[in-house]
Amino acid sequence: MDLILVNLIDGLVTGLLLFMLSAGLTLIFSMMGVLNFAHASFYMLGAYFAYQISMVLGFWMGLLIAPVIVGVLGALVERYGLRRVHQYGHVPELIFTFGLALLIEEVVQFIWGKDQMPYSIPEVLNFTALSIAGNAIPAYKVFMIFTSVAIFIALLYVLTRTRVGMIIQAALSYPRTVEALGHNVPLVFMGVFGVGTALAGVAGVIAGPVLSTFPGMAVVLGSIVFVTIVIGGLGSLWGALVASLLIGWITTFAKAYNIRMEDILTGIGFEKPLEMSENVFRDLWTITSPQIADILPYLLMVLILVVRPYGLFGKRDA
């Protein structure tokens, strides 16, 4: 029972982190119809900037300043890059963001090199907050949970209760009408892109110490984020949340419990072959859940795309 709790918490951390990334991505898609392939790259930049700032001003300054820098960069990218490519169509837009992801990775390597950065948990949070069934829950994880939830609530509030939020929601569906009403829609676009990337930056700032800060960190998380918003439904914030948590928990539990395919197959009634090493299906027999934990999201995504292309909560077709 307690073990389940531990895994729930772990999965929650992963899920919320994923959500911070996918929320920004799905908002950007909702608004501009473009899937920002470079979204995870901004996450990476967040981690690197925070590391650099923390070297001089400490972790908390990093947490405060780094996302802002990332957001500004994102807004600039939208204004001078994406807007220019927008006229060529959706496919060139996607290709542009893909190229951007490539470029950012190279620039990071140029500036910081290929090694992992010693970006670590601040001393003040480096202790064990709880102990459940003998497993230590680090305070930092609790901090991660709180920060993510706080940001989610703030986001929800801004989108649904403030005037800016109303304008954004309207511009999401009827940009031309909103523009006719006198609002500066291009500015809104730039703002949303900036905020979206800033969110990714925040995720990077808090995930950096835990998931390690290195040039490949964007690639590792990048495709999972896409999988998340596709499963949740392109354009749906709630879908992003549900899907993120789902994936967080599925992968955590799959890794924690060593479910073996062998047991499942023999349970159904298949007989385990004697000569395993030569058997063509030996891989199938030896699969364990930790092995396929990272693949499960992709499997789920393909399934959803086949069965329900709108995703779990999606309203509009991509």
Partner: protein
Amino acid sequence: MTTQTVSRKTRAPLVSLSAALPWLIATLFLLVMPLVFTSNSALTIMNQMAITIVFALAYNMLLGQGGMLSFGHAVYMGMGGFMCVHVMNYVEDFSLPLPLPLLPVFGGLFGMGMALIVGSFSTRKAGTVFAMISLGVGELIAACSVIIVAFFGGEEGVSGDRTYGLPVFGVEFLHQIEVYYLTAFWLVLSALLMYLFSRTPIGRMANAVRDNPERAEFLGYSARWVRFYSFVASGFFAGIAGGLFAINYEILTEENLNLATSGSILLVTFLGGVGFFFGPIIGAIVFTLLQTVLSLQTEIWQLYLGLLFVATVMYFPGGLAGVLMMHTLPIRFGKAGLLVGPYFKTLLPALACIFGAVSLLEILFHFRHAALGDEEMTLFWVTFNSHSPLPMLIAAIATVAGFWLARRGAPELAEAWHEANTPNAPQGGAA
């Protein structure tokens, strides 16, 4: 005006000379190349180019011809390649009388088979959904490849030996040059078939569906099925590229299936230009040269590649081929000469600017990442101290000055372009 003017007494020739000429020249070129570049490393590079060309052309069947962006096309090449290595091993283990030249066919068929399965659900929609499915499927298969050791060989991949195939006229394909001619043969054959495909009804409709899927539906064609057949054909040729890879390198690993490989073929194809058949060919050649030659000169060649790619997407979405073909109209009008002067005025300073920027980047990189105490670096055949301010200053000045001069010449160039693209006074009233 369309009354039957002349009843053709003689049958029109199968292929006109002007259409066949580029192909004949290219084939001749391929035959002659190894006689000019005789070193083994040159042969290796040429083989690599050939394989990339086939893969890129296959990819462009989707992207350029069909308007479908795929982030997971490496799967079809990789699977084809893996199949071929297994076939090579069967030939070796069971002494099957299979000549090596036929091997790529297996790759093609297997790639096509994979495409049939995936295409059955991925081609329902084009655009972003298709791109996402391709990404998901690609990652899924790449991830599975580490688990399914029986087929994919786990971490070390699967390797084979090409010399066990049935010898062809005594050739056992032991030597690089023999492999080269085999690869070149398949290159010409595949390219020709892909070109002809674009001239068939399905090829034409693929273009139509790309431009206007709704209109195509009202011409009696299901956009979905047109996309599906394009996808399958593309998978077939990607598989052939995989087979050629297997023959050349005799080993396939998870790397052949992953996102990096899929991404690089996208880069290659787009860089070359998706709007023209020969675009990917140019892209493959340029990319292979950058990858093999440039990587030896500088550690940050991938940064340059990234910059080039983004610049291409933003300013030259037609790619290198597009830039070249932009000149056909002025040439046709006989006004290409107008461009020479402005080109000098803008491109030369732009070149200086690029040199300056490159120098700056190289110096900075060396300054930041070189081992402690290592202060000397060589750039453009000049050796100097990377920590002294003078080289950096020179580079910075070159960059800024070049940029400023190029900027100054730009309006003149724009005007010259406009003039060069306008036909002379028309010979009769416009229709």
